[in-house]
Amino acid sequence: MMTPQRQRILLSHRSTPALKPHVRLQYDKVRQAWALLSPEKVFWPDDVSLDILRLCDGTHSVTQILEELSMQYDAPIEEITADVETFLQDWSDRSLVAL
């Protein structure tokens, strides 16, 4: 059998990020916090991460996510772009977000 060459997926502004199937954001009543459940690991995203993750719904493009966050945070797009891009690339590399 030939091994198909799997490639690292790189972020582009046309990507429409979504949580991977079987990764889910869930409110935990016991700890009163949002938990991100994934294979073998539980994450506790902070408020900023949560705002980004909530926009990862498969319909918003990266450009739209940036516009939305820039409104929510009342910050110019140029100021937040690098951080948001790094976040999304990192979460894609960890198999939590599909780009």
């Binding site: 059998m1 091994t3 799997r6 490639q7 690292r8 997926i9 991977k20 199937p21 079987h22 889910r24 869930q26 935990d28 016991v30 700890r31 938990a35 459940l37 994934s38 294979p39 073998e40 539980v42 894609s92 590399d93 960890r94 198999s95």
Partner: protein
């Protein structure tokens, strides 16, 4: 006791000790429970309800071989109804046609399949099961076809440590998301077979290089988790993330334990679910409180700045090698028994032992000292 007890996040449910494989590295206890000692469906369901109420978010369904329980779908469905993330840890053989799909229907989230070798001959030899490799590959295919994320677990020892590049190839070929290169933890059957399993220093050093190179090369393509070998370490691992800190395990008969090998520590009494509620056991069991937090520590841990990083390491390893469960884990360079632990590597090398005591119900040598496991091998 002064430590605040936080709710547990994870639970390892060993649904059964029965298993078609007979891996010599198995971390199950030598005294394996027969089917008639297993908790019934109702017991597990009520345990899972209480676990969810208590704050458990993720349950690893393991064994033995968990798919030998005909009620697995029912158990998975309950967990999924309660929003608990389910991870099936399977050997991947003997699973009937359609079962993976049924489990997915019931709400299963993720599957981890163990491969005893990257080559068919190794897998068959270690697990003592004909065609095991081929069957595992088939199961992996079904998991991916059903759209579930897949982890390949590779338990590493002398007999497969040189197959790591092939394990990486295999994981890519099976379209796994993660590969766990997990050096065997010498507990249970693995401790009994230590001399026949322990790799030598040169192989371990080679392994570290191969894994690090692959982790860089495959960044964003395949996640490689590396469980390093304790006997070659400088610092211990935080066993189970710290004794009774955020996870626990349950044996097939419902006995609730802080870790796999906790039963090897003399003087600790472990309670069974049903006789007590899970909340009671988690909060008030003297065995859970015995090594919780840092109050129990003596020197060198007591004044060490890593004490909340590794929690003093593994209690069962301290028991097995230092002869005292409250001692610093001998994997730690600051332990007075560190040299003794390293000596066990040489002992294994010069022992010339290579044959296995295969894991079978009723063939465990009782009263043999055993120690702890940090991760789950199935």
């Amino acid at each position: 006791m002064s430590e605040t007890v936080l709710p547990p996040i994870g639970m390892l449910a060993e649904l059964t000790h029965r298993c078609p494989l007979q891996c010599a590295y198995c971390s199950n206890p030598l005294e394996l429970l027969k089917a008639n000692r297993e908790m019934a469906t109702e017991g597990w369901l009520s345990l899972f309800d209480q676990a969810a109420d208590l704050g458990v978010l993720q349950i690893h369904l393991s064994g033995g071989e968990p798919t030998l329980r005909p009620d697995l779908e029912t158990l998975v469905r309950r967990l999924s109804d309660r929003g608990v993330y389910t991870n099936l840890i399977t050997a991947g053989v003997g699973i009937r046609e359609g079962r993976i799909d049924d489990l997915v229907q019931a709400g299963l989230d993720h599957v981890q399949i163990s491969f005893q070798g990257a080559l068919a001959t190794t897998t068959e030899k270690i697990g003592n099961y004909r065609d095991a490799h081929f069957k595992k590959i088939e199961t992996a295919g079904k998991v991916r076809a059903a759209g579930l994320p897949l982890t390949i677990n590779a338990p590493i020892h002398r007999h497969n440590i040189d197959e790591i590049p092939a394990f990486i190839e295999l994981a890519l070929k099976l379209d796994a998301e993660r590969l766990e290169i997990a050096n065997v933890q010498y507990a249970g059957w693995a401790l009994l077979n230590r001399n026949s399993l322990m790799p030598d220093r040169a192989s371990v050093e080679r392994q570290v290089n191969v894994v690090q190179e692959a982790q860089e090369r495959l960044h964003g393509i395949l996640a490689i988790d590396f469980v390093t070998p304790d006997y070659f370490a400088i610092y211990p691992k935080p066993c189970m993330g710290g004794w009774a800190r955020d996870a626990f395990m349950v044996a097939p008969d419902g006995t609730v334990l802080p870790c796999h090998a906790a039963g090897t520590i003399p003087g600790l009494v472990f309670e069974r679910f049903g006789e007590k509620s899970l909340a009671d056991i988690w909060h008030a069991s003297p065995a859970f409180n015995a090594f919780r937090g840092t109050d129990w520590m003596a020197e060198p841990c007591r004044t060490c700045d890593r004490k909340e990083i590794d929690w003093g390491g593994c209690r069962c390893q301290a028991m097995a090698i230092a002869g005292n469960a409250a001692a610093t884990d001998p994997a730690c360079i600051k332990s007075p028994f560190h040299a003794r632990m390293a000596g066990l590597i040489e002992e294994a090398t010069i022992s010339g032992q290579d044959a296995f005591h295969y894991r079978r119900i009723g063939s465990g040598v009782t009263n043999h000292a055993h120690n702890a496991a940090e991760t789950v091998e199935s």
